[in-house]
C-alpha cells in the first residue's frame, strides 16, 4: 500500500516514462525502482529523468551518484529522501 507521497511519485514516474496504464494497485513501496527487478522496467537513463523531475517538482537535489543509487532503490526510499530534505532547516 502506497502512502500519498509514494503514490504521487509513482504517478510522476508513470507520466515521465509515458506509461499508459496507472500503477498496479498491488504495487509495493519496497519494489525495486530501477533495474531488471523493477516492475516499472526502468533503466539508468530513466533514472536521470526521474532525478531531474524530483528536483523540479519537490525542490530537492539528488546530487551524487551514490545518493542517487541509494535514494532510487524504491518508492519508499525516494519518498523518505524527499521528506528528510523538506524537514532539513535551510542554511
Amino acid at each position: 500500500m502506497l502512502d500519498p507521497l509514494e503514490k504521487e511519485l509513482a504517478d510522476m514516474i508513470m507520466e515521465i516514462c509515458r506509461f499508459q496504464s496507472p500503477p498496479p494497485p498491488e504495487l509495493s513501496p519496497d519494489a525495486a525502482l530501477i533495474g531488471p527487478d523493477s516492475p516499472f522496467g526502468l533503466d539508468s537513463l530513466d533514472a536521470v529523468e526521474i532525478v531531474v523531475a524530483v528536483q523540479r517538482k519537490f525542490n530537492v537535489r539528488i546530487d551524487s551518484q551514490e545518493t542517487s543509487r541509494r535514494v532510487l532503490q524504491s518508492l519508499r526510499t525516494l519518498a523518505g529522501f524527499i521528506r528528510s530534505r523538506r524537514e532539513r532547516p535551510a542554511g
Binding site: R18, L45, E49, V51, V52, D63, S64, E66
Partner: protein
C-alpha cells in the same frame, strides 16, 4: 581491520579514497576538498579516441592525477608502487597491513565480488583502501559502499592485476609522511588557478570550454553524420559518462561547487560562495541536458530533445563556464589570494 580507519561513502572513488586516507593520517579533509585541491574538474572531448566504440568525453582530470596533485599540494608524501608479479604485489600489501598501514589500491571493478552483478563492468581504475586482513579475507574500505566490505585474497589479486585498458598492474599507494602543519590556502589557490587555466586558456579546441563548444557542434551533427541509429547510442553514452560514472552528477560540477563553498571558508572570501552557487546552477543545466537527452533516447520527448536543442544547452553551459572560470581566475590572481604554487 584497523578500527580507526574513517570509512566514508563518496560519489567519486579516487577523491573519496584520498579523503579517507588523509583523514586517517591526521589531515581531515572532505571528498570535495580533495577533488578541488587535486584540480579534479576538467573537460575534454576526443572524437578520435574511442572507448567501447564511442568518443571519449571526460569531465574530470585523468585517473590518478587528482590524488597525486592533492597530496603534492598539501605536502603529503605518498609512495606509489606497481608490480609485475601478483604474489609479490600481494606480499607487499600484507607487509604494510602488518604495520597497520591502510593501503590504497587500484582495481578492476569487474573482479570485485562484493559488487552486485548489475554494477560490475570492465573499469580498471577503481580505487579502494585495504585496511586489514582476517584469515584469507581482506577488509576493504570501498567508498562506493556505505560500510566496509570483505574480499577474498584471490579475488582481490585478480582485481589488482586485471588486464585491459588502464590495467592497474597491482598498483598500491600509502602515506609515508604528513607535515606537522598544513596551510590549505595556498593549495586551494594553486588548484583553482590550474583549473581556470585548463578550462579557459589552453589553446586546444578539444579541451576546456572550447571542448564543450566543440562537443555541442558534434551533438548537433550526430543525426546527419551518423543517422538516427548511430546518434542515439552516442547520446546515451555521453549522458552516462556525465551522470553515472562516479561523477557526483552534473559531470562533477556539483562536487566542484561543494569544493568552492569550502574554499570560501579556507580563503575567507565570500565571493566564492556566489561562484559556487553558479557552478551548481551550471551543473543543473548539464543535468537538464542529460534529462532531455535521455527523453530523446527513449523516444518520448516533446520536441525539446532534438539534437540542435540539446546542443544549445551544451553551448549555454560552455558560455556560463567560460564566464565563471574567468571570474574565478581573476579572483585568485588578485593580490589577496596570490600565493600558492
Amino acid at each position: 581491520m584497523n578500527p580507526a580507519f574513517p570509512h566514508r561513502q563518496s560519489a567519486h572513488c579516487e577523491s573519496g579514497v584520498a579523503a579517507n586516507l588523509f583523514t586517517f593520517h591526521g589531515v581531515p579533509v572532505s571528498e570535495a576538498m580533495v577533488f578541488g585541491i587535486g584540480g579534479g574538474l576538467f573537460f575534454a572531448h576526443f572524437p578520435f579516441l574511442r572507448i567501447n566504440g564511442f568518443p571519449l568525453t571526460t569531465f574530470r582530470a585523468a585517473p590518478g592525477r587528482i590524488l597525486r596533485r592533492a597530496a603534492k599540494r598539501l605536502g603529503i608524501d605518498i609512495r606509489f608502487r606497481t608490480f609485475r608479479d601478483a604474489d609479490e604485489g600481494m606480499a607487499e600489501l600484507d607487509r604494510n597491513l602488518e604495520k597497520s598501514t591502510p593501503v590504497g589500491a587500484q582495481t578492476g571493478v569487474y573482479w570485485l565480488p562484493y559488487f552486485p552483478p548489475a554494477l560490475r563492468f570492465h573499469f580498471n581504475a577503481h580505487n579502494l583502501v585495504v585496511v586489514g586482513k582476517e584469515g584469507d579475507s581482506y577488509r576493504i574500505s570501498d567508498p562506493v559502499f556505505p560500510e566496509p566490505v570483505s574480499c577474498r585474497a584471490d579475488d582481490l589479486a585478480r582485481a589488482r592485476f586485471a588486464r585491459g585498458k588502464l590495467a592497474p598492474r597491482g598498483k598500491i599507494y600509502f602515506v609515508r609522511n604528513v607535515p606537522a602543519k598544513i596551510d590549505p590556502a595556498p593549495a586551494v589557490t594553486a588548484a583553482i588557478r590550474e583549473v581556470c587555466f585548463l578550462m579557459t586558456r589552453l589553446p586546444i579546441p578539444l579541451i576546456g570550454v572550447r571542448g564543450i563548444r566543440y562537443l555541442a557542434g558534434q551533438v548537433a551533427s550526430w543525426p546527419s553524420r551518423l543517422g538516427r541509429q548511430g546518434a542515439l547510442p552516442h547520446l546515451a553514452n555521453l549522458i552516462r559518462m556525465q551522470e553515472e560514472i562516479g561523477t557526483g552528477g552534473g559531470g562533477f560540477r556539483f562536487i566542484y561547487a561543494a569544493f568552492l563553498q569550502e574554499a570560501a571558508a579556507v580563503l575567507e572570501d565570500d565571493r566564492l560562495l556566489g561562484i559556487s552557487r553558479e557552478m551548481t546552477a551550471i551543473g543543473d543545466r548539464w543535468r537538464d541536458f542529460a534529462a532531455a537527452g535521455a527523453s530523446r533516447c527513449k523516444g518520448r520527448d516533446d520536441g525539446n530533445g532534438d539534437f540542435e536543442s540539446l546542443a544549445r544547452i551544451v553551448r549555454e553551459c560552455a558560455d556560463r563556464e567560460h564566464a565563471l572560470f574567468r571570474e574565478l581566475g581573476s579572483l585568485v590572481r588578485g593580490g589577496r589570494h596570490a600565493g600558492g604554487k
